[in-house]
């Protein structure tokens, strides 16, 4: 028995040794596993080529990945800014147009930016090591991210930013104040980097093939970054005037300068079809808002036929208006009962023939806006802003230049009598409204700051068309231009018809998947999660 015992033990040693050797051998053999489990038909994050990577990021500013412009911006910011109004209720008579915020639309402006722009920057671009290896490219990413983030936070308020991409389970919300600080800080990094790159490599455009905004021109990116800083600074003028002034003065004195002429404008060449063309011509879902009609028609604005097409009175087309309206520009009042197509289809629509053809780039910031920012800065006495009147008039001129009506600018600026006109709905008299403002175009140096501000913001609003996001922000900050309130308000008291909508509600998906964080976000918001709660910078007090 002894022998047997020994022998068995010997055997088990032997087996153990075999096992150990097999094990150690095999574990070495797993070195190809990474290769095997990487789909060779795709591009791993670490192999993403910077050029291919930037294009979708820049395009995503306009919600390109899922073709989401319509629900991401048009059916909220563009309509609340008084630019657009759909001749359509999309099968649901209670919707954003009458202040019933639809969770099937609005989350696009939130989710898509995280999953297709900020997420890829933080999770994929950062992983390529571009921050250290190609700081100039990283600078562009920071600017694109700030531009996109501003669009999210100014719609919703406190949102996740600093911790984006850190968890799949719970991503905390940042206060809006913190988000603005982060955006300024990102712009600091970006502008410093770009500035030194330009100095060291004058005229070089390593980014040329991958930039659908400026074709790789870093000097334009630098101007855009400085101008974006200026725009963000002005948002804070009520809530934190010191920061607003400091950042604005920093922007105005920044190396590389601000966007100054139409050639500096930032516009994205989107994937596929131009969104305005698509929603207007292809979907027939987008018309002129009564508010912008009231101003532009009243001002005989030379940009009117550039922006819009006159009403349709051709009986062979859907929803024609009576012949007496031929050649006129009539918009649709937000919140009216549009029933269904084609009742309101004959109203003026965006000019998809010439200004917004299928291939047109989409503007995200204009030089004209910067001049109006300077005009307001001058009004507030900030260093480097120059003269308010000059800034104001340069703003108008720059916009006219942009739209090819430069020659009409002088007469337009000299017009001290034209005023917005009353709104008359040819279909439903219940929508009619007198003009809400008497503000004229011509600069009046003697007017009060409040009147001057209304004049500046009104003209800025006309110049910024069709970029409704910033226009809605500025309306909420200043109260200008005076927009027709919604005809029907079904928000159940959550949103005041007169004060108008202040924000969008968080996506329900956040409550479902990121519940704790969004609850904390609502606390940061400081009010109920609905369209009536004012954002951090949206202080209910006078402009001066």
């Amino acid at each position: 028995m002894k022998t047997k015992y020994k022998s068995t033990k010997y055997n088990s040693y032997c087996i153990a040794i075999i096992c150990a050797l097999i094990l150690s051998g095999l574990t070495n053999c797993t070195k190809n596993f990474d290769k095997f489990n990487t789909d060779p038909t795709g591009i791993a994050n670490k192999n993403l080529q910077i050029p291919t990577l930037f294009i979708p990021l820049e395009q995503e500013i306009m919600y390109s990945a899922d073709d989401g412009y319509q629900v991401g911006q048009n059916l909220n910011a563009d309509i609340y800014a008084g630019y657009a109004c759909p001749p359509e209720f999309f099968g649901t008579s209670l919707n954003n147009m009458n202040y019933v915020l639809l969770d099937i639309w609005n989350p696009e402006a939130f989710n898509s930016i995280y999953t297709n722009l900020i997420g890829p920057i933080k999770n994929k671009l950062a992983a390529t090591g571009v921050k250290a290896s190609l700081p100039d490219f990283w600078a562009i990413a920071l600017i694109v991210e700030a531009e996109a983030m501003d669009r999210v936070t100014d719609k919703f308020g406190p949102v996740p930013y600093s911790k984006v991409g850190t968890s799949l389970v719970s991503i905390p919300y940042d206060s809006q104040q913190s988000i603005y600080q982060q955006m300024f800080s990102q712009l600091d990094t970006a502008t410093t980097t770009l500035n030194s790159y330009i100095t060291a490599h004058p005229g070089q455009t390593p980014f040329a093939n991958s930039d659908v905004v400026f074709g790789g021109d870093y000097t334009k990116w630098l101007k855009f970054a400085n101008s974006l800083r200026f725009r963000l600074a002005m948002h804070l003028v009520k809530v934190d005037p010191a920061t607003a002034q400091a950042q604005a003065e920093k922007a105005m004195a920044a190396p590389g300068g601000l966007m100054a002429s139409a050639s500096d404008n930032a516009a994205v060449a989107v994937a596929g079809q131009n969104d305005y063309w698509q929603i207007t011509s292809s979907y027939t879902d987008n018309s002129m808002n009564a508010s912008i009609g009231s101003y532009m028609v009243g001002y005989n604005d030379p940009r009117l036929p550039v922006y819009f097409l006159p009403v349709n009175t051709d009986p062979s087309q859907p929803g024609p208006l009576p012949a007496q309206y031929a050649g006129q520009y009539i918009g649709i009042r937000l919140g009216t009962d549009v029933h269904s197509k084609p009742l309101y289809s004959g109203f003026s629509v965006y000019n998809y023939n010439t200004t917004f053809p299928v291939t047109a780039k989409e503007t995200i910031m204009t030089a004209a806006e910067v001049w109006f920012l300077k005009a307001e800065a001058a009004l507030r006495g900030w260093a480097g802003a120059g003269d308010a009147q000059t800034d104001y008039q340069t703003g108008i001129q720059t916009s006219m230049d942009q739209y090819g009506v430069s020659g009409s600018a002088a007469a337009y600026m000299a017009d001290g009598t034209s005023k917005p006109i009353a709104y008359v709905d040819p279909i439903n008299a219940a929508d009619n409204s007198p003009a809400l403002s008497t503000i004229t175009i011509k600069w009046d140096p003697l007017a009060s700051n409040e009147v001057k501000l209304e004049r500046i913001i009104t003209q800025k609003w006309l110049a910024m068309f069709p970029e409704g996001q910033e226009a809605w922000t500025e309306f909420r900050r200043t109260g200008y231009p005076k927009l027709f309130p919604v005809v029907n308000n079904y928000s159940g008291g959550a949103i005041s018809t007169q004060i108008q909508i202040r924000r969008l509600a968080y996506p329900l998906s956040e409550y479902a998947t990121n519940g704790t964080a969004v609850q904390a976000g609502v606390v940061l918001l400081g009010g109920p999660d609905n369209g009536g709660t004012r954002l951090w910078w949206d202080i209910n007090k006078g402009n001066f």
């Binding site: 574990t27 795709g42 294009i55 997420g119 994929k124 079809q273």
Partner: protein, 1042 residues
């Protein structure tokens, strides 16, 4: 890895060589010791000699665990795992060899030579030796889990199109759903219920111990009602049943645990035929069968076309309607001719076979051709210590015009929906005048996406799949000592597949490309599965009351595939047309759809190799005490490449089992010949899908599309935990056998796709979650009722019941369902609290009094999607009888699936078009009688038939109205054979049989055969969407041995 395998091969040799001498000595020593202890002192006076030998069965297979006693004494021994034995005895002693199921044999010892004994099967029962995981043969009583073995003859008694279909009714706990596509089709094989949400629910197929690929050929199985994918058959359907010695079904985790990944759904072990020593045999088998549809939909012949040009049949009364189906369907047939040679010497044995299968379907132009070559060579060297075994299969198969299932590219839609009273024969000439592109248009009066001219589809939308397959496996086994052997095996399974689907110009949208010149898609795929293992087998020598045997080993499985797909799928369905009409060349496919801004970039996909690999080490040990208690332990660790980029690349599968042989423990009544109780537990993993852990981004025409899927660094494999308990009893000298098993499995850690919060930066993510439970029982009852020289009657009953319950999906994140299919009126969800396979559809709303809520015109108000059916049977019962009277034999297999419900989307369309008998009868009766109520509360008792059937039927049908019992009882197989008395003839045997399959439905309430499936994938269970009807076959079979 090659180097590594060589190394592994060498290691045991090196270490064992050092080990061998003491081992051998010990064997001899202990042998003597035992004989001294075990025998009377008197015996030591004689010169005891050591007798070595082996015990085999008639086929030359070694028998494991044969009891060998010395007559008149209490001493004895048993054969080892190789059928070998060593015993100390005296000249003149008589050795008694006994083994359950075999005739007892007594052999006197006349000299000290090796003793090779052949035992003859007593024809009564179950083989005692069972092939288990990795091809290891073990005695049945040592098994701690349920397996069931089916012999090759049982599989070929009545031929089936797909080999695995022949298991239906012959194994308890298996559910086989053949694809409705008929000849050459795949089969969905489910053992003990569905369990995996995301992965495969089908078993692993293993040939001679080595896993093979079950990959299908073609466009893949459909997952929605539109279907349209041609079927190319699965891997198992390629095999030739004549080459199969037996199939063993390892139903549960404990049996399969040694196979690791892929074995979570059970294993079907196939043992192929080998050459036999001494006997040279030539077999010739020829069978011919004819197939007809077993039923057809019920049409009305009372009302004609609604109006000229209309697609519907709500028109005026007609006196009769032509039988358009008769014009279309044909009689299918199958001719299989098989030839095999078997023979050999003690040293080498050869088996060679060739089989040709030629079949045609019941839909014209549908043909199948298959050739199987098989060469199996076994040889022994070095005094029988080294066994070399090689097996090579070469298979070619081509399948033409496999019927597409679903709405698209299916001739049956146009045929069945054709207006009643109209004669379809004018459209047999399917081509019309040339179109403006110079090629013929389609001769068909309708412009609808779901129907085209049936003959146009057959001739102008042809599909073809072909496969060339080589399967090679080889093994080398060396017996180091009589208690230790080492074995190395390798196999290659290489599939070269081609499939394509053509759409000629004239095909209607949406199948055809917009440019009207026709379109073409297809793929070339070569996949290769390589497997290698090294196993060291051991058993403790000697005659201790404790016995230990087992194995340790390592294996590697590597799978590569090389795929090139072209044409519309998958980037842009139906967008890319042909430049020149009807010229089907790659160069003639558009690069971008005509006139469109092409966001897809390419009409070619694949073209690169994908590869995955599993490496494993495993071991098992079986300890027995006095042959009445057996303990089995196994452990396997897998390293899976699909876990790359996660923290743990490996995972382990333990299993443990215990069995007691009660008749050895206690003295039981004499009626009980054998009684075993057993219990086991196992945890078996299933590797996650490829590429989940490292999402990559994909190029598009505009640059790149970010993949919004989150990487999954904590991914774990799916785990199925199984407990099973059972008993095996035999009574009356093995005449009656009974086996019972209870099992419970829980499948957890499944990979479920979730939507993480958007600020994570990701649009999708995965979690390991869900708990799907299957509980059930399996009973097998066998009875040799009669056993005489002239008359035999064996009867077997298989019963099984499985209860599936979804215990959880991902309640942590409030996710309680996973959608398998979402297709118009039919949806399939796996929902918490429900069970796998639940079908959801709309029903008619009812008021508090149970009355149907109807609109004023009688059209019903519909509910949300609710659970309306589940096709899984409540229980299955099969009764197999085989009779023999003198030279006649008769086999009858009756099987029934009881419970469950199925739905018919087809019926809903027949109703909507007014061609169904239901519509005709209702209209003739003045309308549909209902117990309804209108919105104002007024009673509605009759609804106009057209209003009713157009509102409940159609693609958006209220599918709750189309639920049928799935209970079906059928005469599945019948074979009447006559064996010619061929004594003193050149023939060794000569047998002629008449066979029939699916002959009689004793009970069937559904308008189709609920067993057929539209897809062998996880979705689309229990639904008929213009499926080809089930077939009824009659055949003639001749078996000759020379």
């Amino acid at each position: 890895m090659k180097k590594l395998l060589l190394l592994i091969l060498l290691i045991p040799f090196i270490s064992v060589r050092a080990n061998t001498p003491p081992g051998e000595k010990m064997a001899i020593t202990t042998g003597r010791l035992v004989s001294l202890n075990g025998m009377t002192k008197l015996n030591t006076d004689f010169a005891a000699i050591i007798i070595k030998g082996s015990v085999k069965d008639a086929t030359g297979q070694p028998l494991v665990g044969v009891s060998i006693g010395i007559k008149g004494t209490t001493s004895g021994t048993q054969t080892d795992i190789n059928g070998k034995f060593t015993i100390s005895a005296n000249l003149g002693d008589v050795l008694v060899f006994s083994y359950v199921g075999y005739v007892k044999k007594e052999v006197p010892i006349v000299n000290a030579n090796n003793l090779d004994v052949e035992l003859v099967n007593d024809g009564k029962t179950l083989n005692e030796v069972v092939v288990t995981a990795l091809g290891v043969k073990r005695s049945e009583k040592s098994l701690t889990y349920a397996t069931q073995q089916v012999s090759g003859t049982e599989l070929t008694n009545v031929r089936t199109d797909n080999l695995v279909d022949a298991l239906s009714g012959k194994v308890a706990g298996i559910t086989i759903s053949p694809s409705a596509s008929g000849i050459g089709g795949s089969a969905k094989v489910i053992l003990r219920g569905n369990r995996s949400l995301d992965g495969n629910n089908q078993p692993l197929y293993v040939i001679d111990g080595v896993p093979i690929s079950n990959e299908g050929n073609g466009m893949g199985q459909p997952n929605d009602a539109y279907g349209g994918n041609p079927e190319g058959g699965d891997g198992i359907s390629n095999l030739n049943p004549d080459d199969i010695e037996s199939m063993t079904v390892l139903k549960g985790g404990p049996a399969a645990a040694l196979y690791g990944s892929g074995a979570a759904n059970g294993v079907i072990l196939i043992t192929t035929k080998k050459g036999k020593t001494g006997k040279m045999t030539i077999n010739f088998s020829s069978s011919a069968s004819i197939d007809n549809k077993a039923y057809e939909p019920q049409f009305q012949s009372r009302y004609g076309q609604t109006s000229a040009g209309a697609t519907t049949s709500f028109g005026p009364a007609i006196s009769s309607a032509p039988d358009n189906l008769k014009l279309f369907f044909q009689t299918g047939n199958n001719f299989t001719n098989s030839f095999s040679l078997s023979g050999g010497t003690d040293v080498a044995q050869t088996y060679f076979s060739y089989t040709n299968t030629s079949a045609r379907g019941i839909e014209p132009t549908n043909t199948l051709g298959r050739n199987n070559f098989n060469l199996h060579e076994t040889a022994k060297f070095l005094n029988g210590k080294l066994t070399v075994d090689g097996n090579m299969n070469y298979i070619t198969q081509s399948l033409f015009n496999s019927p597409a299932l679903g709405y698209y590219t299916n001739p049956l839609t146009g045929l069945y929906l054709f207006p009643r009273g109209q004669n379809i024969s004018q459209y047999k000439n399917y081509e019309g005048p040339n179109g403006n592109n110079g090629v013929p248009t389609q001769n068909w009066p309708f412009q609808e996406d779901i129907q085209q001219n049936p003959w146009w589809i057959l001739n102008r939308n042809p599909n073809e799949t072909s496969r060339n397959r080589i399967m090679m496996n080889g093994s080398v086994k060396y017996d180091i000592t009589n208690w230790l052997s080492i074995q190395a095996r390798g196999s290659l399974d290489r599939l070269a597949d081609k499939s394509d689907q053509k759409y000629y110009a004239g095909t209607l949208a949406p199948q055809a490309a917009p440019n009207g010149n026709g379109s073409w898609n297809g793929s070339n795929n070569t996949s290769q599965q390589k497997y290698a293992d090294v196993i060291v087998n051991f058993n403790t020598p000697g005659k201790s009351v404790f016995k230990l045997d087992g194995l340790v080993g390592a294996s590697i499985t590597d799978h590569t595939s090389d795929n090139l797909s072209f044409g519309p799928y998958p980037q842009a369905p139906n967008l890319f047309g042909l430049f020149v009409p009807n010229l089907f060349t790659l160069q003639n496919i558009e690069v971008a759809p005509a006139g469109a801004n092409n966001p897809y970039g390419s009409n070619v996909s694949g073209g690169t190799t994908s590869e995955y690999q599993t490496q494993a080490v495993f071991g098992s040990g079986n300890l027995s005490y006095k042959n009445w208690v057996y303990l089995s332990l196994t452990e396997r660790i897998d390293w899976s490449s699909t876990l790359a980029f996660t923290s743990a690349l490996h995972y382990s599968y333990p299993s443990a089992g215990l069995s007691f042989i009660l008749n050895q423990m206690f003295t039981l009544p004499q009626e009980i010949t054998y009684a075993k109780i057993r219990g086991s537990y196992a945890s078996v993993g299933n590797s996650p899908g490829q590429y989940l852990t490292n999402p990559v981004n994909y190029p598009n025409a505009n640059s790149v599309s970010f993949n919004s899927a989150a990487p999954y660094p904590t991914l774990k494999p799916e785990i199925t935990k199984t407990q099973e308990y059972g008993t095996d009893l035999r009574f009356f000298n093995d005449k009656l056998s009974f086996s019972f098993t209870y099992y419970k499995t829980n499948t957890i850690n499944q990979t479920i796709q979730v939507t993480p919060p958007a600020p994570s930066g990701y649009g999708t993510g995965y979690v390991n979650a869900a708990n799907i439970q299957n509980k059930g029982i399996e009973v097998t009852l066998g009875y040799n009722l009669l056993q005489s020289r002239d008359l035999e009657w064996n009867s077997t009953v298989n019963f099984s019941r499985n209860i599936n319950k979804v215990l959880d999906i991902y309640s942590k994140a409030n996710i309680d369902s996973v959608q398998l299919t979402n297709s118009n009126s039919y949806r399939s969800y796996v929902r918490k609290g429900g069970s796998y396979g639940d079908i959801y559809g709309q029903t008619i709303l009812k008021d508090a009094q149970g009355r149907l809520m109807l609109a004023d015109n009688g059209s019903p108000l519909t509910s949300d999607f609710v659970k309306i059916a589940n096709p899984e049977p409540k229980f299955q019962l099969a009764w197999n009888n085989s009779f023999r009277y003198k030279h006649f034999s008769l086999n009858l297999l009756v099987d029934g699936k009881f419970g469950g419900q199925v739905v018919s989307v087809m019926q809903s369309l027949l109703d909507e078009y007014g061609v169904s008998k239901a519509y005709g009868d209702a209209r003739a009766a003045g309308g549909v009688k209902v117990n309804g109520v209108n919105p104002e509360g007024g009673a509605i008792t009759t609804v106009d038939a057209e209003t009713w059937y157009t509102s409940i039927g159609g693609r958006g049908a209220i599918l709750g109205q189309y639920v049928y019992s799935a209970t079906t009882v059928r005469l599945r197989e019948a074979a009447l054979g006559y064996t010619l008395p061929v004594q003193n003839s050149v023939f060794k045997s000569f047998k002629l049989s008449l066979t029939g399959r699916n002959l009689i439905y004793f009970y069937r309430k559904a308008p189709f055969d609920p067993e057929l499936t539209s897809s062998t994938a996880n979705g689309l269970g229990g639904v008929d969407i213009f499926n080809q009807p089930a077939l009824r076959s009659y055949g003639l079979k001749l078996d000759v041995s020379l």
